[in-house]
């Protein structure tokens, strides 16, 4: 997928100027946290499960080479073909090879952020294959020529009217109303059913890989992933090396947090574990199964201070609770992953230079860390990335100068206090009539959007010193 994170600020401005879309984001921002909270409130083991899962994930990542090798051994014993890909290009060409070996023309694809990351669909289409996304949200954005705006709900940026018009335009089904959402869902079901039945290859992602038995876990509500996994004669599972868990019970324990955090449900409608191609006793299922395991920088992340981001469950809770995501929406982030997790992951998977704006898209409110079921210190990681931007000189020179000047001053407390005292006095003086200032010197960008309230009193340190002086005097009397 083409990356546009370097124009984050412009993307954000465009998104915020679209009033109707902003209203839809406001509605989502209001109700998604409520749904999650209700679900967590009804699950009294949330906190201990979170701690348990953290230990399991850390243990697995500490011994990833061991568990990945164990998964591979078991998956091969189950009759799968296991492939490794270092880069997105390697994954794409591996999958294309598989499709071409089977002279496939039609591909039914389930939701997979990994294949969004590698741009697989575009690559297969370039080779003349017809690839249809079958998750309803993914189908909508694919047909609209857009990209997902949310890792869980890819089309939540679109209104029902948008979808209605889209379906009327693209499905040659004659006169019809599509009045209700259920009519649109029924139409997509009808259209996609034919595709499922005709596809020669199914492509899905995996939410977890189980080392002890070589199964891949797939979680969906629609059942589209399972149709992709069961109907076409060839199945390709694309996922990343960090999805391994030691035991099957770890995967179901993880689901308790993942599903509640993502959609507020206690359990998704379909949770399936697939071991490989059809067995002698099977009446259906793929004849051949390939598992493609992508690295794409993850082994480097594993060896860095950002290892914790590999514990991400892809639940989307940090997006739903992030004031920046809520304001600017997912497309502003300019790549596959959005919100706080995207602002950490995108620079690590692509380059900090290309995505320098993302770690700064943070108010440091800490809500993301608070709601993250994997307990990932997202604000600290974002802060570290900002610090790296500074040391790698990616931060604009003006900012760097400001930060350096502040650091210099902060190391000279006396000078700092007297200068800040003068500045506060000056601001009080300038803002005394209205109680606020329209423009701030050296912070034109900040005050272009809001007024600065004039300080009401002296600086904190001055007030503290005054208080201490008064108390001393009282004691002396």
């Amino acid at each position: 997928m083409e990356q546009k994170s370097d124009t984050f600020l412009a993307n954000a401005a465009t998104a915020m100027n679209d009033t109707a879309a902003a209203q839809r984001r406001d509605i989502m921002a209001a109700f998604t946290p409520i749904i999650r909270q209700q679900s967590i409130d009804g699950f009294s083991s949330y906190e201990p499960t979170r701690k348990h899962l953290k230990r399991v994930r850390q243990h697995t990542l500490n011994h990833l080479a061991h568990y990945l090798a164990e998964f591979e051994t078991q998956a091969l014993a189950n009759g799968n073909h296991v492939h490794f890909a270092r880069t997105p290009q390697e994954l794409n060409s591996t999958v294309l090879d598989i499709c071409q070996q089977h002279s496939a023309r039609r591909i039914a694809k389930g939701k997979s952020m990994v294949t969004e990351e590698t741009g697989l669909t575009a690559e297969l289409e370039k080779a003349g294959l017809q690839v249809i996304e079958t998750d309803l949200g993914e189908y909508i954005v694919q047909q609209a020529g857009e990209t997902p705006s949310h890792i869980v709900g890819p089309a939540l940026h679109k209104s029902a009217d948008d979808v209605r018009q889209l379906f009327l335009d693209i499905h040659p089904l004659g006169e019809r109303e599509l009045e209700h959402t259920s009519d649109m869902v029924a139409e997509a079901r009808e259209v996609l059913r034919t595709h499922f039945l005709q596809a020669e290859v199914g492509i899905i992602g995996a939410n977890a890989l189980i080392a002890e038995n070589g199964y891949a876990m797939l979680v969906t509500n629609e059942g589209n992933g399972d149709l992709c996994a069961n109907l076409p004669p060839v199945l390709v599972i694309c996922t990343t090396i960090d999805r391994v868990l030691p035991r099957a019970e770890d995967a179901t324990a993880m689901l308790r947090l993942l599903v509640r955090s993502a959609t507020g449900q206690p359990q998704t409608c379909y949770t399936s574990f697939y071991s490989g191609p059809r067995r002698a006793q099977d009446q259906d299922g793929p004849v051949e199964v390939h598992i493609v395991l992508l690295d794409n920088e993850r082994s480097d992340i594993l060896d860095s201070e950002y290892r914790g981001i590999l514990e991400c469950l892809r639940c989307g809770a940090c997006l739903n609770h992030c004031p920046i995501y809520q304001s600017v929406g997912g497309h502003a982030y300019g790549w596959v992953y959005q919100g706080p997790m995207g602002s950490v992951l995108t620079p690590l998977l692509t380059s900090l230079e290309q995505s320098a704006a993302l770690p700064n898209a943070c108010t440091a409110c800490g809500r993301c860390e608070e709601v993250c079921p994997a307990d990932i210190p997202l604000p600290a990681m974002l802060r570290d990335l900002r610090a790296r931007e500074y040391t790698e000189k990616l931060t604009p020179a003006r900012w760097r100068f400001g930060i350096a000047a502040h650091a210099w001053l902060a190391q000279r407390p006396r000078l700092y206090h007297s200068l800040s005292g003068i500045a506060v006095k000056l601001l009080r003086l300038l803002g005394r009539r209205k109680g606020y200032l329209r423009h701030l010197p050296f912070a034109g960008g900040w005050s272009s959007q809001r007024d600065f309230p004039a300080p009401q009193a002296a600086t904190f340190m001055q007030q503290l010193h005054d208080k201490q002086r008064r108390e001393r005097q009282r004691h002396e009397h």
């Binding site: 009294s44 083991s45 399991v56 500490n62 011994h63 080479a65 990945l68 390697e90 591996t94 309803l136 949200g137 909508i140 709900g153 679109k158 209104s159 979808v163 959402t181 869902v185 029924a186 079901r189 059913r193 499922f196 070589g214 199964y215 509500n221 629609e222 059942g223 589209n224 399972d226 149709l227 069961n230 090396i241 030691p246 035991r247 099957a248 019970e249 179901t252 324990a253 308790r256 959609t263 449900q265 359990q267 998704t268 409608c269 379909y270 949770t271 399936s272 490989g276 059809r278 067995r279 006793q281 099977d282 009446q283 259906d284 299922g285 395991l293 690295d295 082994s299 594993l302 060896d303």
Partner: protein, 233 residues
């Protein structure tokens, strides 16, 4: 390419992984223990199962024995489709059901496009999840879970367990007996989507309705209580 990629990836992972022998790792993983016990909506496992199936937008019924189950299926088929026909997997437990008691006409095998009703026999019910669990195979072609409009699942009350931690050893025991099945499917509701404006619609790609019939002994009033609890919500 893949072999080369594999070696390169494993070489990177080895450097990034902690140094430990397989035994150390095993010991460490044992020390992780199990996930904390998840809360159930009530003490009774069967009632908790029924309650959670209902909260997952499934519908439920109870039958004392196989003959009553057949009649319950008959009622469901009549109410929804005015039919006696449906498709069932080649599960010996389904084959042994007294279908004639309700004048039903099952076709055993894999569902074909356009056939609206399937009946399956789950291997387990998991109360914590409100889910039934079955494995793919002759007795349960995966298409039967996915392609029908209405999917009816039978489960023996003795096969209802409290949590997924209780389910895995049972699944494991079966695997030792019959080998690893191709698919282990936890179903917890009719297929659904909220991809358009967050509005929930049932019947996205799979069945629009999911009906669970528990066969065998249930604690007194378990079904009535489960229905009452969910009606309150």
């Amino acid at each position: 390419m893949s072999t080369e990629a594999r070696s390169a990836i494993f070489a990177r992972l080895q450097t990034a992984s902690a140094e430990a022998t397989a035994n150390d790792i095993l010991r460490e993983s044992w020390a992780l223990g199990h996930a904390p016990y998840p809360p159930l909506p009530c003490e009774n496992t069967e009632q908790a199962f029924l309650t959670n199936v209902l909260s997952n937008r499934g519908t439920v019924d109870h039958a004392q024995d196989r003959s009553a189950a057949v009649k319950a299926i008959g009622r469901y088929l009549y109410t929804h489709y005015r039919t006696q026909r449906f498709v069932a997997g080649n599960d010996p437990r389904l084959a042994a059901m007294p279908w004639r008691d309700a004048g039903l006409l099952p076709r055993f095998g894999t569902v074909e496009v356009g056939e609206p009703l399937t009946v399956g026999f789950a291997r387990l019910g998991v109360a914590e999840l409100g889910a039934t669990v079955s494995w793919t195979g002759k007795g349960n072609p995966s298409a039967n879970n996915l392609l029908a409009e209405h999917h009816i699942t039978l489960v023996d009350s003795a096969d209802i367990v409290a949590t997924s931690e209780d389910a895995w050893p049972r699944i494991q025991a079966d695997m030792e007996r019959i080998g690893r099945p191709r698919g282990i499917n936890f179903v917890a509701g009719p297929s659904s989507t909220a991809d358009i404006e967050g509005q929930l619609v049932c019947g996205a790609h799979g069945p629009r309705a999911w009906h669970v019939i528990v066969i065998g002994k249930l604690p007194k009033d378990a079904l009535a209580n489960a229905l009452a609890t969910t009606a309150d919500k």
